[in-house]
Symmetry: C2
Subunit: 201 residues, 2 copies
């Protein structure tokens, strides 16, 4: 990919993000994306034949961004309890972040298409695995240093933490109760993580 | 409601269940439901003006069934640990139950419409509350009898348990990994419930 190709790719992804935040996923057309794109619709079609092709690339783009951010979220010099809290809090989405709120609602719509769209399903599975592994790595690190209880397998507990926060975010988005995911995150920390942190005693 | 009205209501709800399991929610038409209904399409329209009206009634019907089943799931004479396990397991959906699998996938589609459809949102919020309360009541009962640790508020922990299992089911349905929700359920019991059960020690 040349630098110019990279710029076009970035511009298409940004236009897709803007369009999906405005229109959601289900009713979105290639024209809606072209409307957000300062270049021509034909250039969009030159790169992507169908809406599904474009959204496979868009999911890859979001996963790349998520991977970059995971390093910030979990790999710092701060204490283990603070790193758990920061990663848990990251899942909370509040209506005062309207763009992120709309994006996650659109991702939920896309996810319901995953059983019929294998390329979407692969991306959601990959994103789940990344999110689960980030929790599991915090737990493993704590178990290795003696800071976290060893009563439970890190992958199992990592998956539980991820599923809990992902489920909490999905319910908040659909039920519309502000603070729901944040409250579940606080309980996850108090009831599951904190009792296993050895330096908390 | 007369007995005959009750029969017609039940017949419409059964036809809706069959149609939604076959077609999903998004692409479903009133005609698809009429096709599953042994009475006339005009009778369907006599009772429900729009697809949304019909699905509000369908969600109420599912919630009524869920309330009836909750008694079986949680209120029995079996020990507290067995009742937690039975209720947790109930959330698992496997591909060998194709009708239940399709229904829950359709409910997930409907749930993504909840932010734009207040009547749907009210029903999903009510169903969440019922499911959370059932966990909270098991916890409260155990705390009152001394069988369950009192370190955590029963409503908070009940919500965490519900959100975890609901999130696990949603991911299994969309990612398509058999046994995913069952595995999360086993971790929820081992890592969150069992350490708090006093008669397990």
């Amino acid at each position: 990919m040349t630098a110019a190709d990279g710029d076009i790719h970035e511009a298409i992804m940004t236009a897709t993000l803007d369009a999906v935040c405005t229109h959601g996923y289900a009713d979105l057309t290639m024209q809606d994306i072209a409307d957000e794109f300062d270049k021509s619709k034909s250039l969009l079609h030159y790169h992507y034949d169908t809406k599904a092709d474009l959204f496979v690339a868009f999911l890859d783009y979001l996963i790349d961004n998520f991977e970059d951010r995971l390093d910030e979220l979990t790999e710092t010099d701060s204490p283990l309890d603070a790193r758990f809290k920061r990663y848990i809090d990251w899942f909370a989405v509040d209506p005062d972040e309207p763009e992120r709120y709309s994006l996650h609602l659109a991702l939920l719509e896309m996810r319901t298409q995953a059983p019929h769209t294998k390329r979407f399903q692969e991306r959601f599975a990959r994103s789940d695995e990344l999110a689960t592994t980030a929790f599991a790595e915090l737990i493993e690190e704590g178990q290795a240093s003696g800071e976290f209880a060893t009563d439970i397998d890190p992958i199992d507990l990592g998956r539980l933490c991820f599923v809990t926060m992902d489920g909490a975010r999905a319910r908040q988005l659909t039920i519309g109760k502000p603070g729901y995911a944040k409250a579940v995150g606080a309980t996850l920390f108090e009831a599951v993580i904190k009792p296993r942190l050895r330096n908390e005693e």
